[in-house]
């Protein structure tokens, strides 16, 4: 079966806007495929190239090189046909402030040629489903963040798109609204909706997506199911130590001999120990530290997670 999204060797370089500006390489040769019905997540820190990828796939950004197709249609060559297949929930609130919530939905469907009685019924249905009926006839200027987000999703669904794109859908939402958004998206996907989502929240990608692509500095670092990605971290567990004084170098070179340790990485005063089991390991590491007169000022044990994987792949934390 034809992939819903296919991306091949996609590159994007933004030309400088000002005369003395610099070129920005946003995407560097990324390739991936998303089958129909998939819940696909693009995970990476801010500035990794997530919004550029979604921009190219939704016809708003022109690729510098390589190509991308939606339902087999080239996004750069036939943008109008691609637009019929996609629903887009952008990161910022771009709801039409001159219209009421209901009008936003109805007009959106009208742009896509949905017949009048159908678009009115569909708007009513989505307003109810997303709990927006009470304030459906108001303009959206007074809407809360969660309501804006729900209305943006409802709008994107008005023309029954084959693929739903969401750019950081829960950024700026409170925990309760985020949880509600997760439920909503899972429910949509369970009904067969193909979803492509970008996020910089690991737990979001972990909870929702069946396939995750990890992206940083415009390159694809890993692509797999959340479980497989977590398994790919050496050992799975991570012990992070903040060290001072003493002979740190000989301490870190002695660490790999401890039982359970798979890999040790150190960076100034921070030592990361990847291990396949943690029982007794922290105590052993502490003892080893005191033998080398190294003072441990902070210690942290983490379960296998995407955060650990990202840290392992890039040496940086996704949170920073």
């Amino acid at each position: 079966m034809q992939a819903a999204i296919a991306v091949e060797k996609l590159r994007k370089i933004y030309q400088p806007k000002a005369r003395k500006g610099v070129e920005v390489k946003a995407l560097d040769c990324i390739s991936f495929e998303v089958p129909r019905g998939e819940f696909f997540g693009l995970l990476g820190p801010n500035g990794a190239g997530k919004t550029t990828t979604i921009g190219i796939l939704t016809t708003r950004v022109r690729p510098t090189d390589g190509f991308a197709t939606i339902a087999g249609i080239d996004v750069a060559r036939n943008a109008v046909a691609v637009k019929r297949h996609i629903g887009v929930v952008p990161q910022m609130n771009n709801l039409d402030r001159s219209l009421t919530a209901r009008e936003i939905l109805v007009f959106h469907a009208e742009y896509f040629g949905v017949p009048r009685h159908e678009r009115e019924a569909k708007a009513q249905e989505l307003l109810q489903r997303f709990e927006l009926t009470d304030r459906a006839n108001e303009k959206v200027t007074g809407y809360s963040g969660g309501m804006v987000q729900r209305l943006k999703i409802a709008r994107a669904l008005m023309h029954d798109p084959a693929i739903l794109f969401l750019d950081e859908p829960t950024t700026g939402l409170d925990p309760q609204a985020r949880r509600a958004m997760w439920d909503l998206l899972s429910e949509l996907n369970a009904k067969g909706q193909t979803i492509f989502l970008t996020t910089h929240y690991m737990e979001e990608a972990d909870q929702l997506c069946r396939q995750i692509a990890i992206i940083d500095h415009g390159t694809l670092l890993a692509l797999d199911s959340p479980a497989a990605l977590k398994r790919s971290v050496p050992g799975g567990y991570l012990i992070e130590l903040q060290v001072r004084d003493g002979d740190a170098r000989s301490f870190t070179s002695a660490l790999p001999n401890l039982p359970g340790v798979v890999e040790v990485k150190s960076d100034h005063e921070r030592v990361r120990i990847y291990a396949d089991r943690v029982e007794g390991l922290l105590a052993n590491a502490m003892r080893l530290a005191s033998e080398h007169d190294v003072m441990v000022s902070d210690a942290h044990v983490a379960e296998p997670s995407l955060e650990n994987l990202f840290l392992h792949l890039t040496g940086r934390s996704l949170r920073n």
Binding site: Y14, G55, R60, A81, K83, N94, E110, G113, R155
Partner: protein, 255 residues
């Protein structure tokens, strides 16, 4: 494609209809005050001769239509492109990027026509006593009205795509005042031969062709620019601004 175009138009007209009272106030106020002072008060005081209002009517009509057209396109675009990004919704509709821009120009032209329909009878009612209008050629009037509205809708598209949100007030003030004063709205271009360099310099002002076009079709007995230069100027500037505006719009809409 046509369905989407009509839907976009439907959206803009719905919003415009909602703002109709403000729109009427905006287009109606200036000609109302102008005709009152120049068409009624000053002739009564004997400061200007009665027939003088003939000279004003075409200019006032032209100004109302062109400014309406320009504002209808430029103002929402500057805000949409630079700040709220609301237009993204329409850029994702199944229509080409230039289709969205052309729709904006059509809205500008329609608003200008509504402004003309309001201003012409209003001005005429107020100045009726002194006017000796000969509308010889209604087709000529419609043609001039259409071309002038299109020209300024396209000019609005150019402004809307190059001006930053923070500068909009400044640009409008700096641009509009000289354009209006040097636009032959209040004096016929033909009479400027007394100041030859000025007569030639104002030709770069697109408003001159609109004012002269309305003068040509509403008060042909008054001195006016030859028809070929009126139509040449109007269509030349319309095409030029449409081309620049569409190109800029595409550049702003896509990264």
């Amino acid at each position: 494609m046509t369905t989407t175009f009509l839907a976009l138009l439907h959206r803009d007209l719905r919003v415009a209809r909602r703002e109709l009272p403000f729109f009427l106030l905006r287009v109606g106020l200036q000609p109302l005050l102008f005709t009152f002072i120049f068409g009624f008060v000053m002739p009564r005081l004997g400061i200007i001769p009665r027939g003088y209002t003939n000279m004003f009517l075409p200019g006032i009509l032209g100004l109302s239509m062109t400014l309406s057209s320009m504002q209808a396109v430029a103002l929402p675009l500057v805000i949409d492109l630079g700040w709220t990004k609301e237009i993204e919704d329409r850029l994702l509709a199944p229509i080409t990027i230039s289709g969205v821009a052309i729709e904006k120009m059509v809205v500008g032209i329609l608003q200008a026509i509504v402004a003309g329909i309001v201003v012409l009878p209003l001005a005429w009612l107020l100045m009726r006593v002194h006017l000796s209008l000969r509308i010889d050629d209604v087709i000529q009037l419609l043609l001039v009205a259409f071309l002038s509205s299109w020209l300024f809708a396209a000019f609005g598209l150019v402004l809307g795509t190059i001006v930053e949100t923070q500068q909009i007030g400044l640009v409008f003030n700096i641009l509009l005042a000289p354009m209006i004063f040097f636009g032959c709205a209040y004096y016929p271009w033909a009479t400027l031969h007394a100041i030859r360099w000025f007569q030639i310099a104002v030709l770069i002002n697109p408003l001159v062709y609109a004012s002269e076009g309305f003068r040509l079709s509403l008060t042909p007995q008054m001195p006016h620019m030859p028809p070929w230069s009126v139509y040449g100027g109007l269509s030349g500037f319309s095409l030029l601004f449409s081309w620049i505006g569409l190109r800029n719009f595409e550049r702003r809409a896509l990264d």
